[in-house]
Amino acid sequence: MRTRIKEFRARYNMTQEDLAQRVGVRRETIVFLEKGKYNPSLKLAHDVAKALHATIDELFIFDEEFDIVTEE
């Protein structure tokens, strides 16, 4: 999983600390999120997306092999 959190954060001139405070998590969690090393809950993903005025789809990019494809 890759994320565009850093890019969006830069767009709004927001530090990791600012974002962490806005969504109510530790800065360390933001670091792990940005590196794609942490799988957040849907609630946290939603809160981060909201704080960065983006959608979850825009922020979190799943590589193709991890995509769940349902075929009829």
């Binding site: 405070q21 806005r22 969504v23 109510g24 998590v25 530790r26 360390e28 969690t29 942490y38 946290l44």
Partner: protein, 138 residues
């Protein structure tokens, strides 16, 4: 800001814990008889450790007042470290007690309980650190 556990709460907890430790040390020193009462070593240990807790608490209370200190990731890490420590405690207790009952280990059961009790918090802290640095599969 969202309602979360901040350094203010954490600091208050540490301060209360440290003060309780110091109070208990003093109470034991003056109220109990030897070996736990009137022991300057025990009193000194309680006062120094208590003071360390109070200092750490004051730091959090002042410096991390508005900073979130607990979140879903830290809770997940704590839970994993806690589960492993819990399992290891019983494993170690069982293994040592079995060895002692078989006569392989010449120690009392009381000593085994003390050793496990003293070791496990450190195991928990180390595990928490290791798990906290580990990458998750995402």
């Amino acid at each position: 800001m969202k309602k979360v556990v901040t350094g203010k709460t954490k600091g208050a907890g540490y301060i209360i814990g440290g003060l309780s430790m110091m109070t208990m040390g003093l109470a034991m020193y003056f109220l109990l008889g030897p070996p736990y009462g009137q022991s300057i070593g025990l009193l000194g240990g309680a006062l120094v450790t208590g003071l360390l807790f109070v200092s750490a608490g004051l730091y959090s209370y002042v410096k991390e007042r508005e900073k979130p200190v607990v979140d879903e990731r830290s809770i997940r890490v704590q839970a994993q470290a806690g589960n492993i420590s819990w399992f290891l405690s019983w494993l170690l207790l069982g293994a040592l007690a079995s060895l002692a009952s078989l006569g392989v280990l010449h120690v009392s059961f009381e000593l085994i309980v003390w050793v496990v009790w003293i070791t496990m918090p450190w195991v928990f802290v180390i595990l928490r650190f290791i798990i906290g640095r580990r990458e998750e599969e995402v």
